[in-house]
Amino acid sequence: MTRQQTATFRFARPSPPYWAARFDVAHPPRPGQFVLADLGGPLREVLFPAFIDDTGFAVMLPPGHPATRLLPGSPIDIIGPTGRGFRPGNAQRLLLVSSADMLPLLLPLLAGAPNNAPFRNGMSFLNGAPSIALVIEGATRAQLPLPEQIPPAVELTLVTLDGSAGYLGPLESQEPAPAGLERVGPYLLELIAWAECACFACNNDRYPALASLVRQVRIQPAPDFAQALVRVEMPCGVGVCEVCRIATRHGEKCACTDGPVFDLLELGYD
């Protein structure tokens, strides 16, 4: 069911490199779902939640975004939540892989991580809470979040394209690393083998190569073992405008209604 509801804008404050904006709403989106907010432009703005609770959600926006100029208490007309979000199910070992600019899309999945339990040998000390491994890739160290911004129980792996911090990227590279650096590829394969569910948020053109990585260690993974959030323009949000069509193994799909989270192994059949 597609809802049209009124959200209440609460605040927007800097959260470098983004601005965090909070909306109260009766039916908040789930991780990977989105809402379409009428912020006065010719088209509604697509807002993906970065933090979710029972009374609303927060989004991470670029500086200057129209939502950062709203007055607290303003009613905002939104359509949604809509779309198919992430479906980690009951996975106890969750792998999250993101480029730094798309990290906010995966942040809601960190909510399941235990806040105070340390992560040791791939298992959380809290029964029932999933163990989460998070891999973030940035061009350079300056693009990566500070480790203290991530819950301590999350196993954090940093990757840079220039080798300035963590492993050397890119994620999908299998080439040998220069002396003194360690390529992330082999470790990422270990994490994929470890995980019960892997969620990806990267640029769309990288998904075929990431799917190849998954296939290297998972010959016949369960459906939705590897899930990828596809970022495309979604002006209508209900599957009528055809702008968000993407190629999949089962033909073209609308990202706004059939996704935006798809099975990674079904993407890229262009």
Partner: protein, 297 residues
């Protein structure tokens, strides 16, 4: 009730003169949770072709100020699949379904029209003509659709071809005309955009390789004064008035806009991409027209 095909043996009666424009409302059920169908006069579907069409590659949306252009390649799964998928919804619809048929060749148009007219719930067909359709082709396509379907045919006239095609199509037997299809426009696009890639419908850069462009259908408020200009010439009494019902389409964004179109001679209005932002606009326009009619009485 309004009548869009008074000269046709079946006619095409609509409960209200408000409908979505082709390409903005899907095939009928996408807005079922957001738009009450009883405010609609008809449902004009997304474009349908005889055979499946894939989406255009590359960037499909560019926004500038209050306007935006869309280039999708009119993807659809083909008339047979669409009828199979939406047959039950169309049968149950309490307003006529008007499939928007992409006119390609007379043969394909006729074959698609035959299939569409056999689907229950379909009250007429809107024929979508391309911007580069010649006068002769337009008449041939219209006749092919008429021969194939037997239903009222509404011809949607390309924005830049009204003068050449509208009188011709009215003379050739189109039951109604939609004035107009969205104009084609070009915008520069950023090199790094969602979706990436290069559009297969771009203007090649000349001299400055850093600038890329995208061509597509233009939507936005500037279309409305252009629409009024078109209606003032072709729908109001005068030497050039077309003697078929006119459906106004282009930038209508309020009940007042719709009333202005009707006062200039339009029989009905189509709401275009404005409804993506405001799905309630259809109901607001229907209510505005009803209130205006009541006050006139």
């Amino acid at each position: 009730m309004i009548e869009l095909a008074p000269a046709h043996k079946y006619g095409l009666s609509l409960p209200t003169p408000v409908m979505p424009a082709a390409g903005t409302f899907g095939y009928g059920d996408a807005y079922r949770d957001l738009v009450e169908s009883d405010v609609l006069g008809a449902i004009v579907t997304n474009p349908i072709s005889l055979r499946p069409r894939m989406a255009a590659r590359g960037q499909r949306l560019a926004v500038r100020g209050g306007h935006f252009i869309v280039h999708t390649g009119l993807p659809n799964s083909g008339v047979r699949t669409i009828i199979r998928q939406y047959r039950k919804y169309w049968e149950r619809s309490n307003v006529p379904i008007i499939p928007h048929l992409i006119a390609t060749t007379p043969g394909e148009t006729s074959r698609a029209a035959v299939q569409l007219s056999a689907a229950r719930g379909v009250g007429g067909i809107e024929l979508g003509l391309a911007e580069n359709t010649s006068e002769e082709q337009a008449v041939d396509l219209l006749h092919a659709a008429q021969e194939g379907s037997g239903l009222p045919i509404i011809a949607r006239v390309p924005f830049g071809r009204v003068e050449a095609l509208a009188p011709l199509l009215a003379e050739a037997g189109a039951e109604a005309l939609t004035l107009t299809a969205p104009p084609r426009a070009v915008l520069p696009i950023a090199s790094e955009t969602l979706g990436g890639g290069t559009s297969d419908d771009v203007c090649e850069p000349t001299g400055n390789e850093a600038v890329r462009f995208m061509r597509g259908r233009l939507y936005g408020p500037a279309l409305f004064p252009l629409l009024l200009d078109t209606l003032a010439r072709w729908a109001t009494p005068g030497p050039e008035k077309l003697h078929v019902p006119i459906i106004a389409c282009g930038g209508i964004a309020s009940p007042e806009d719709a009333l202005a179109c009707i006062s200039l001679g339009a029989t009905a209005v189509q709401v275009d991409a404005q409804l993506w932002r405001n799905p309630a606009l259809l109901a607001q326009i229907a209510e505005g027209i009803r209130a205006s009619e009541n006050s006139t009485l």
